[in-house]
Structure formats: C-alpha cells, structure tokens
C-alpha cells in the first residue's frame, strides 16, 4: 500500500538554524532518502522551492484562472500529488490545468530544487 508523505516546514524552527546546521539537516535528509531507496520503500522524493515560487491554477466552467502563491481555500483538502516534467512554467501550468481534478479544487504548481546544483 502506498502513502503520500507531504512534508511541511516550520518557518520559525528552520529560521533559527545556522547555515552549517541547515546544510547538515539537508545532508541528513538526502541520506534518509538513500536509506528508503536501498530498503525498497522509496517511490518518489524531492524537495520543492518555497511558497514564493508557487502558482495555483483552477478551472471553473471551462475558464482557467491562475494566481500567485499557494492559495488554498480552507474547505479544500489534500487529494494527491503529481511530479511532472515540463520545459517551463507555462507548460507545467497547462499540463496541471488539464487534470480533471482542477475543476473540483486547485493545483499548486511549484518548481523543485534541482539536486545537481
């Protein structure tokens, strides 16, 4: 049985870390991912860029609307996730907007961190 584990970060706690401690926790996270991979439990894992990089897309009555940021109505609940490959934000938004669920909720589209950097 598969699970979504959605990581939420506490800005206050993370903000208190020194740059060295922050780098340390990132290295430890990557090591944990490796452990999960080795034990065969990992299906997908990736860090995403912060809320300031997010765009939210909705489709209502055939009309597409986009807003900046993670904009969630309190009556929405997490329904799933996709990790897609696209050449730029417009393509990502177009692909996300085609998901049928965009008509019944919102899809927040955020660029991931390229771990090669």
């Amino acid at each position: 049985m598969q699970y979504l584990c959605l990581v939420r970060i506490d800005d206050d706690l993370i903000g208190k870390l020194t740059p060295e401690d922050d780098r340390q926790q990132q290295l430890e996270s990557m090591a944990h991912d490796e452990d999960l991979k080795r034990s065969g439990h990992l299906i997908a894992a990736q860090p995403v860029q912060g809320p300031e990089s997010a765009t939210t897309i909705r489709v209502r009555n055939g009309k597409v609307s986009m807003t900046d940021g993670p904009y969630v109505e309190t009556k929405e609940h997490l329904g799933g996730f996709m990790v897609i490959d696209a050449k730029d934000l417009n393509e990502a938004l177009a692909l996300a907007g085609k998901a049928p669920v965009a008509r019944f909720g919102s899809i927040e589209v955020r660029p991931t961190w390229d771990l090669k950097d």
């Binding site: 990089s53 900046d68 730029d88 417009n90 938004l93 177009a94």
Partner: protein
C-alpha cells in the same frame, strides 16, 4: 563635424525596446540590464566621435549582446563554469544576427509586457515590474506613487525577477488559446496603474498618463477590442480629471463641472 548626439533623448526613446530584445537574446533580465548599461556606455563614448549610426536601436542591441558575451567569457576564465554554459555562450556568439525588423521589436515588447504581467506574479508585483521595465520609471517614482518606501518597492521587483527565473516563467507571447485570459491580466494591471494615478492631481510621476501611454502602446501592438475599450475608458475618465475637483481639492458634482476644462 558631427551633429551633437542627444544620448538622453535616445535613451528615453529606445532603451525599453532595446531591453525587451536583449532579454530575449540573453535569456534573462539581469544579463539584459547589464548589457543595456554597457551598450549605452559604449554609445556615449563612440557616437559623439563617430556620429549617430544609421540604426541606433540595432547598434545598441548588437553592442549589448557582444559585451554580454565578453562578460561571460571573462567570468568563465575565473570560475570553473559548467561546459554547457560555455557552449551556450559560443552558440549565442555564432548565431547569425537576425534582422532587427519592426515585427521583431513589436514581438519583443509584447513578450516583455506579458512576462511582467504573468499571473504567477502577485498583482502588485506585476504593476511594479511593468512600470519599471516597460515604462522605465525609477523605483523611487513608483514607490512614491504607491506610498511605499523605495526599498520595499525595490524588493518587490527583485522577488518578481527571482520568481521569473526560478519558476521558469518563459519570455513569450501567449498562444492564441491562452491570449484572452492572459490579456485580461495585462489590462487589469494597466487599470491598477491608472487608478493609482487618477485620484491624485496630475504631477511629475503621473501614473494616469503612464497608464494611457501603456494602453496606447498595447493597442498599437495588439489592436484587440478589449484593449481599445480600456484605452477609451481611461481617456474618457482622464479628460474630465481637471474638472473633478475644485481649488480646495473637494469633489465637484458632475452637473457642476466645468466642461471647458
């Protein structure tokens, strides 16, 4: 004997169009702004001696582009730049310089407007970006008009450019099927600019006039019914501006307004 070359006038007339093209050629705002600065520095040095080139705009784009390539090459010697970047630079250098025709310039201006007004940017960021990059207003003037401290406004623009870069907002004119929605966002931003200026008395940083200028530019580049409608609305409202308030700054009822103003 060369005629005196008015670099300031040329900057006012051409810098925004040159920037729009440089952003496309160099792939980003930062590189384009540096290139623009370098291009005008070169012009200020050479034009008084050599005279005005036949096509100043093309000269500036060319100068900016080559200096940008030089910059990257020089940096590559100091940093261990990834091979792909060095490759990209050489590709940029080799690309046959395309004709800088009127259509290319108009397309680049549209690219700039649609990028500054991308819905992935917050509305106040769209407005700040448009006034700064398309209209060329200084951050001080924009900040004063919106009653925010200049550093706050500057940060707003920095964050917008960061998002454009990090989320990879493409520098492009939207496809036909996306155009109505995207145009809506642009018109909304222009109207926000107009509103910000309309309630203030016309002064140095007259945003209402700037909005009308933007409306005219957009109508010229994209003669769409909605664009013309907004322009007409702004012109109509602006025409009555002088008559709206009396000497004390109080509102004058429409029936009492002086129609000769």
């Amino acid at each position: 004997m060369t005629d005196t070359v008015d670099i300031d006038a040329i900057y006012r007339a051409e810098s925004r169009r040159v920037l729009a093209t440089l952003i496309r050629l160099l792939g980003g705002f930062e590189a384009a702004e540096e290139a623009l600065h370098d291009a005008f520095a070169a012009a200020a040095e050479r034009w008084p001696r050599e005279g005005l080139p036949a096509n100043p705009r093309a000269w500036l784009v060319s100068a900016g582009r080559f200096r940008a390539i030089d910059r990257i090459r020089r940096r590559a010697r100091f940093d261990a730049l990834a091979p792909e970047v060095a490759h990209e630079v050489e590709r940029m250098a080799e690309e046959a310089s395309e004709p800088m025709d009127a259509q290319t310039i108009r397309d680049d201006q549209l690219r700039l407007i649609f990028t500054c007004c991308h819905p992935a940017l917050a509305p106040d960021a769209q407005v700040a970006m448009t006034l700064r990059e398309v209209c060329g207003l200084t951050t001080e003037k924009i900040a004063a008009a919106f009653l925010v401290p200049p550093p706050t406004l500057a940060q707003r623009i920095v964050r917008a450019k960061t998002k454009i870069r990090e989320a990879r907002i493409p520098y492009s004119v939207p496809a036909q099927d996306e155009l109505p929605g995207r145009l809506d966002t642009v018109l909304h931003a222009i109207y926000l600019v107009f509103n910000a200026g309309y309630s203030e008395p016309a002064d140095d940083a007259d945003l209402a006039a700037e909005a009308i200028r933007l409306g005219r530019l957009l109508a010229d580049l994209l003669p769409d019914a909605e664009v013309l409608g907004l322009l007409a609305l702004m012109l109509l409202n602006n025409s009555r501006r002088a008559a709206r308030t009396d000497v004390a700054g109080d509102m004058v009822l429409i029936a009492d307004q002086d129609r000769s103003l």
